[in-house]
């Protein structure tokens, strides 16, 4: 059910002519994917998904769509280029499916779920701040760099 909503709204993101409609469908897709994360016992990631994607990133997208007022929505003319690239996309899908057919999944581990020790949040927090502290710090520096880069790029060009 959630999966159907996620996939169909993703299709609507790609197909809708109006960029604002695409953004709304993207929110729907992200929210249903957060539901999938909850089903897969990843509550913390689901919460982060809702906060960061459905909150922050979508506000960013909508601001840019409003700033860049769109002209006539002629953006979805599908010509030879579109057919060609759609064919390439389907070929890649077939390739990945054939790989899926070949492989076998590793067996599911034993009962005592390490994902649930003291609630999912505590387990994830322990893992991040004990074992993955260096990647965490690197991500924070990366976000700082991205923020500075965004400010520099979007700044009005100084007249001198």
């Amino acid at each position: 059910m959630l999966a159907a909503v996620a996939v169909s709204s993703a299709v609507m993101v790609v197909l809708s002519r109006n960029a604002i409609h695409a953004a709304i469908y993207l929110v729907l897709s992200f929210l249903s994917m957060a539901g999938l994360y909850v089903i897969l016992e990843a509550e913390f990631v689901a919460a982060v998904q809702v906060l960061v994607y459905a909150g922050g990133i979508m506000v960013l997208f909508l601001f840019v769509i409003m700033l860049v007022n769109l002209r006539d929505p002629s953006g979805s003319r599908v010509g030879l280029h579109g057919v060609l690239s759609g064919g390439v996309g389907l070929a890649v899908v077939a390739l990945i499916l054939s790989v899926y057919g070949r492989g076998s999944l590793p067996a599911s581990s034993a009962e005592g779920s390490v994902l649930r020790q003291g609630g999912n949040l505590e387990a994830v927090g322990q893992a991040i701040f004990a074992d993955y502290l260096l990647p965490f710090e690197i991500v924070s520096v990366l976000l700082l760099v991205a923020m500075i880069a965004a400010i520099v790029l979007a700044r009005p060009i100084p007249k001198d």
Binding site: A6, L40, V48, Y53, G75, G86, L105, V124, I128
Partner: protein, 101 residues
Amino acid sequence: MPVPPTHVLIISLLLFSVGMIGVLIRRNVIIILMSIELIMNAANLNLIAFSRQLNNLVGQVFGVFTIAVAAGEVAVGLAVVLALYRNRATVYVDEVQIMKG
């Protein structure tokens, strides 16, 4: 209710392919960025599905990292879109051909 990981892999494959076809066929840069987000979410879904299958937290930790990286990427991408719109007054990729590619 246990969810078989194969189903999650199929969902993630569908999301990835929708995102990839969106990147390929759309001309609006903003929608191309949205499709890239879909692709990143598909990868994230795989990470979390295998985290559950292998009973290992690393997948969820890297899922959080992926979301952070995606946020940074969107910020820079949208700043590039704004700079592009300010300089060339377009958001359609086929109208940006200074390099004659």
